[in-house]
Assembly symmetry: C2
Homo-oligomer: 370 residues x 2
């Protein structure tokens, strides 16, 4: 719970009222040294900073807003958790974005907020390929102890949540409506599973309908909770691209999964890749970038076991003898030393890499693999 009941009460009051938005209040709050300092300011000062007397009075009122506090307590008695930005349960990465929600309504296991988190998002109209990638990626990340965050929509989101259930990492579903609103209807069973084993959250109060304008606002929470976001499939103007742009603005890594150039739902992901997103082939790419300390079983690729040099081609053997002598050389050095054409040396080096004997290293040089 909160380190300070007055701040908690204030946050609930801000969220319930219409005067103050996170976007308006946080910059002032940060510039003035925090919420305590703000609540201790005069109405005149607040009115100047917030450019409105009404907003100033809403701030001053909020520390004593007992009805707001009672309303939250009532929700909690009914089984919902109300986590304010000043509570210790509040996720720390989310607190870093420009406009963190004043509070989150939550159902389930708040411990999920403490794990490393990755967003997996994508098209509602996902293809079979998109759902398969989302499921595999999600399961591998979640088995490695990473919480998979997504938006509880059809398609990619659903596949990601489903695959992460009952794993060490689990999943967090961020809704664009109140926690008690059944949307999408066909996810009722999934919702029960997430709420019982994992975590369901929303910035929108109970009863709030899933208005279209809620979704981009919700997407900032997905981006804010995560160290990185993977876009699995996205059409040209998909909402997932908004999540990606927000993640980028928050300084989080953006990954995109490649797909068929003929697929409409890969147009957005290929656009992201052209704009500098990191290509994601599977969980290992995400873990290597974000959490290098966490290992995972490589599902594809991986170094082949070293092969006897006897199986090498004539050219590869000549290059290998020179490389073993020099320990470290450029392809050009090797071409000169062996008097083989540069292209032949490159092919020989490929063969040596495949055989686990040589490796491509810093500055375009080749070395003997240890």
């Amino acid at each position: 719970m909160s380190r300070d009941p007055v701040l908690r009460r204030a946050a609930i009051s801000w969220a319930r009222g219409r005067e103050l938005t996170p976007q308006r209040l946080w910059p002032v709050l940060r510039a003035r040294g925090g919420a305590e300092a703000l609540l201790a300011s005069s109405e005149a000062e607040l009115a100047e900073w917030l450019e409105s007397g009404e907003r100033a009075r809403a701030v001053l009122r909020s520390g004593e807003d007992l009805p707001a506090e009672r309303w939250a307590a009532q929700l909690e008695r009914a089984g919902m958790r109300v986590v304010t930005a000043f509570d210790e349960e509040y996720p720390s990465l989310l607190a870093e974005i420009p406009d963190p929600p004043f509070l989150l309504y939550a159902a389930g296991n708040l411990e999920r907020f403490r794990l490393p988190a990755v967003g997996i998002v994508g098209s509602r109209a996902a293809t079979r390929y998109g759902r398969d990638v989302a499921a595999r990626l999600s399961r591998e990340l979640a088995l490695a102890g990473v919480t998979v965050v997504s938006g509880f929509a059809r398609g990619v989101d659903e596949a990601a949540h489903q695959a992460a259930l009952s794993t060490p990492g689990g999943t967090i579903a961020v809704l664009g409506c109140g926690l008690d609103v059944e949307y999408p209807r066909e996810h009722a069973a999934l919702k029960k599973s997430v709420a019982s084993r994992d975590l369901l959250i929303s910035e929108f109060p109970p009863g709030a309908e899933p208005k279209p304008s809620n979704f981009p606002v919700r997407n900032r929470i997905i981006a804010g909770l995560c160290a990185g976001v993977v876009v699995v499939e996205a059409s040209r103007r998909s909402g997932s691209l908004i999540t990606a742009r927000l993640a980028n603005e928050f300084g989080r890594d953006v990954f995109a999964v490649p797909g068929s150039v003929f697929s409409q739902t890969s147009i957005g992901t290929h656009e992201l890749l052209r704009d500098g997103a990191i290509l994601c082939r599977g969980a290992e790419d995400v873990l290597a970038e974000l959490f290098p300390a966490i290992g995972t079983a490589r599902t594809a690729g991986g170094a082949a076991p070293p092969r006897a040099s006897a199986a090498l081609s004539e050219e590869a053997r000549r290059v290998w003898e020179t490389l073993r002598k020099e320990q470290d050389a450029s392809a050009e050095d090797l071409a000169q030393a062996t008097d083989l054409p540069a292209a032949t040396v490159l092919a020989a080096l490929f063969e040596l890499e495949e055989a686990g004997l040589a490796q491509f290293g810093e500055g375009g040089r080749y070395g003997v693999r240890r």
Copy 2:
């Protein structure tokens, strides 16, 4: 033909003999101011530069190697062309690589060497997807007047050559064996078509068998002929990756086509994309990068026709009013001016882009689309 019959004779002699390789001779030739200067040097000088008396004598002999000249004339009478590095027909981009072939055996239309050229290469064991992409890409480039260069192998190469036949750009097939050697056997009909309408070339003399060590040597010619190379599909250690590395070393652009993360033949292309290759979705991506003056009909995407602002959401309308007034603004400016959450503004901007009203421009700012 050659500007100088002595140089042409010398080049044929170097190619026929075993003493001199392009890799050995070109650096000396360039350092000493060209072939004429080299042929006029003393045996002692040549022996020093080439680190061998035998090589020096081979150079001095070459200018008067009449048997070599007669041999080439005989091939030409039989219908084959012998193009030396000193002939004006020799492709100019190929002359720029570190070790251009001394001569190329050719059959067909040498005018193909004068057109802008792009390599399309990939796996012999291409999937249906790889062959489809290669064919579409090749046809679009060739219809736009670009010559499609490839290695005449099964799979991607075959699809690329086939699709470029009978187009303005046409195709160049670079063999890893003599022009008269039937390899691969099932390409006999394709070979006839390429030789009659387009161009078949090889650095290897008539009768040369397709030894495995020929292929990387051949690949440097593909890379050398082209302004850029597109790898359509490639497994982990595919020969196409050697072509890509060579293209990169020659300062040519490398493109890679994305595909399914589950496909073995996309492992190599995804690796290239991770290493900085340009993502290629179709001909437009290649043309935009290499030959921006050449236009092509976009086959996917393209800007939607402007939509009436009446069809916009409430939020998009508010953002549009502000943007129209400011003409140019960041998403943050717009969020402040409209008092909408930043995420909502991003979504509204997407909607305006889709409607053809706004555009994303320099420095992350948005502007009114003209």
